[in-house]
Symmetry: C2
Subunit: 418 residues, 2 copies
């Protein structure tokens, strides 16, 4: 069979399977999830064996040690995948619940019922745990899912796919509820992105190149997350110790993630007192400061920031610093250079805190809290499948609920329209 | 300037204007809406004059009388546009309201705040009242809007655009909050659909050809509504009089709309008794019956249905009729031929009613009520901007709320992530 025949068959099978999983009870779905968790442990040695094939190829092709680390399935990886599934199983079933109900003057009862989206396609790079996380969340939401992982993890992903298939079959569900695309080339991705009739949503996870490729080539709706250029604005009434802690947590705790801080904006009234404090702490952590001219006048060891530093997602121990006249200038800077991801103000001024929350355009706007909290688990949504920075359907961390839709349910006693 | 320069400038201006309207208070937005309503009446003679130019051109080009009727601005048209705006103004402002709030164990308060989408682009065919309806709903939701109406209504739309601009200016808002595309060719539409950076959502309204053109050419998310192939299923416990009323209302009251009934499915236990009743009433209204072989055996005057009748959106006084063994066969038929729009069951059986609601895949599923109720106004959403038959972001009638998104608002006391 040709690539497009294989993909078309998979997409059709996913659509058919989505009807089965869509009407499946919460009990059965949760049983599948806990069965996968148990099987991951039972089949650990098989998983290690298959993973070893990927690791060997990765070493041969000279993958970086960080990449190899992310690719490796260890006991702790299995433990954490299993734990994630058990947590998702423990959540309430979103499907079938009524989100809202109201009555019309003619006696019609109108409600909105939560329903699965249908078929979700995940396209992601080389972390095999995404295979389990994505399958678990999609299953819980009653969706069929087509998974297309990175080529580096192909053996690991196939092995994980077999474990999932076993758990589905054990519970009388078609194995086509969760399918793994066997091809790892971009042609296969293009074919997937053309299956508008059978796939309802595409979620790409990975670098900006992958995401732009998906957006450009897809006729299916895409939930995308380009990048995180997150700011902390230290207002003129800020508690300095709190602001230092928030900057340190945002920049240093995990610099390579999308909710890390990239730029610090400081009110000019605080700059002379605050900047040396934050510099003292963060420079010990190895952070390089790139400042505007006023910043460099205060911090003699800061490098001068270039124009390209303001929109940069460093994903590294680098912090751009700019002194601003007031909150309005900070908000203008964020509107110009921000990425709609996460923005924090540190302040004790009530009305400015409220204005910042209302006017700043980002998936999460925070007052006196670390940008690192923009995460499904941290915000209380449970596991997340990604963070959307576009506003359609979902904006911010996407949990199980964001993998559903709602339909109107109308109950009458014979009403007709006049 | 070239077409692409003009469109690019409009898109950029819309993005800039969206920040202004986005932070505008509900009071000011409502004042703009009521000012437009008042100005429509004050400027009536100007609107009639400009509309006359479109009507003349339409007559010359031989447009059908139905099309000319839809194009005409009469006193009643102005009255109804103004009334619509006043109703939208009377609704609560969705922007800034907190949809949900909860507390995290570490003391963080997390909420979801309703926000505007940003910039909406409406592409529609020749009814000038859509210009006012769409502008009103987008304004209320805090969005800037780019309107591209049909070429037949170009003079009318420009005149309406001037009225809107006057009301915006009167209230200190940029006129670019509502912009009308001056070009009516498809090249201009293609340029619009490429402005992913500046436009957040495209809503096409019109025939299937227009909608497919938009979906195929857009890199911006599209909320689409292809067609309505709506079914009534008469179950074996149905009240016959109620079922006849619901069929008549769905088929005859306004056959040319998307929530009209196209196919009647009848349980075989009821067919012999029910079909002659529904035939007697609907055939007097001029409805042509196209039946399956079993139907034709009962209704001697019905025409035999062809395969192409089952997925057809007749938009006319034609009804396809099929006798089914039970509700499962009815649901299978709907899954195969339905368009995810509106599906009704007429029944007195409690558990089947509940199963139908849960399992049928459609933007509105109804029990003992006319399909004609799938409409924003009828369901209590206020005015609607369209009916979405895809599940992402909105499924079913789209009112003001569906023109918004939500962002996370996190309030802390200095929390950092550990």
């Amino acid at each position: 069979m040709s690539v497009n025949e294989i993909i078309l068959d998979m997409a059709k099978a996913a659509r058919a399977a989505s009807r089965e999983i869509g009407k499946c009870s919460g009990q059965v779905k949760d049983k599948v999830l806990t069965d996968i968790a148990a099987l991951l442990k039972e089949e650990a040695s098989f998983l290690y064996e298959e993973n070893a094939k990927d690791l060997e190829a990765a070493k041969e092709s000279g993958l970086s040690s960080a990449m190899i680390d992310r690719l490796t399935i260890k006991e702790a990886t299995i433990e954490s995948m299993a734990q994630g599934l058990i947590e998702v199983a423990a959540m309430a079933d979103p499907v079938g619940s009524m989100v809202k109900m109201w009555q019309r003057p003619n006696g019609l009862s109108v409600g909105k019922m939560r329903i699965p989206l249908g078929v979700v396609c995940m396209i992601y790079e080389s972390r095999p745990n995404v295979t389990i996380d994505a399958a678990g969340l999609c299953l819980k939401a009653g969706n069929a899912v087509v998974l297309r992982g990175g080529s580096e993890a192909i053996h690991s992903n196939r092995a994980l796919g077999q474990v999932i298939a076993k758990a589905l079959a054990k519970n009388g569900l078609p194995e086509t509820v969760v399918q793994l695309v066997p091809m790892t080339d971009r042609e296969a991705v293009k074919e997937l992105l053309a299956q508008e009739e059978y796939i309802d949503l595409v979620i790409p996870r990975g670098g900006e190149g992958l995401i732009r490729f998906v957006v450009t080539n897809s006729s299916i709706p895409v939930l995308k997350h380009y990048k995180g250029v997150c700011h902390v604005y230290v207002d003129d009434s800020a508690d300095h110790d709190m602001a230092v802690n928030i900057c340190q947590n945002g920049k240093v705790q995990r610099p390579g993630v999308c909710n890390a801080v990239e730029t610090l904006l400081v009110n000019e009234a605080e700059a002379a007192a605050f900047l040396p404090k934050v510099y003292e702490v963060l420079s010990k952590d190895g952070v390089e400061f790139r400042g505007c001219p006023k910043t460099c006048a205060i911090l003699k060891d800061a490098k001068p920031a270039q124009e390209e530093d303001w929109p940069a997602e460093f994903l590294d121990l680098i912090l751009a610093v700019k002194i601003v006249k007031d909150m309005d200038e900070a908000m203008d800077h964020i509107a110009r250079y921000g990425s709609l991801h996460t923005e924090t103000i540190v302040t004790n001024n009530y009305s400015r805190a409220k204005r910042f929350c209302r006017e700043v355009d980002a998936s999460a706007v925070m007052v006196n809290a670390s940008t690192r909290f923009n995460d499904g688990g941290q915000l209380g949504l449970g596991a997340e499948i990604g963070i959307s920075t576009s506003k359609l359907h979902a904006f911010g961390p996407m949990g199980v609920e964001e993998l559903t839709a709602t339909k109107f349910v109308v109950e009458g006693q014979g009403q007709i329209r006049s």
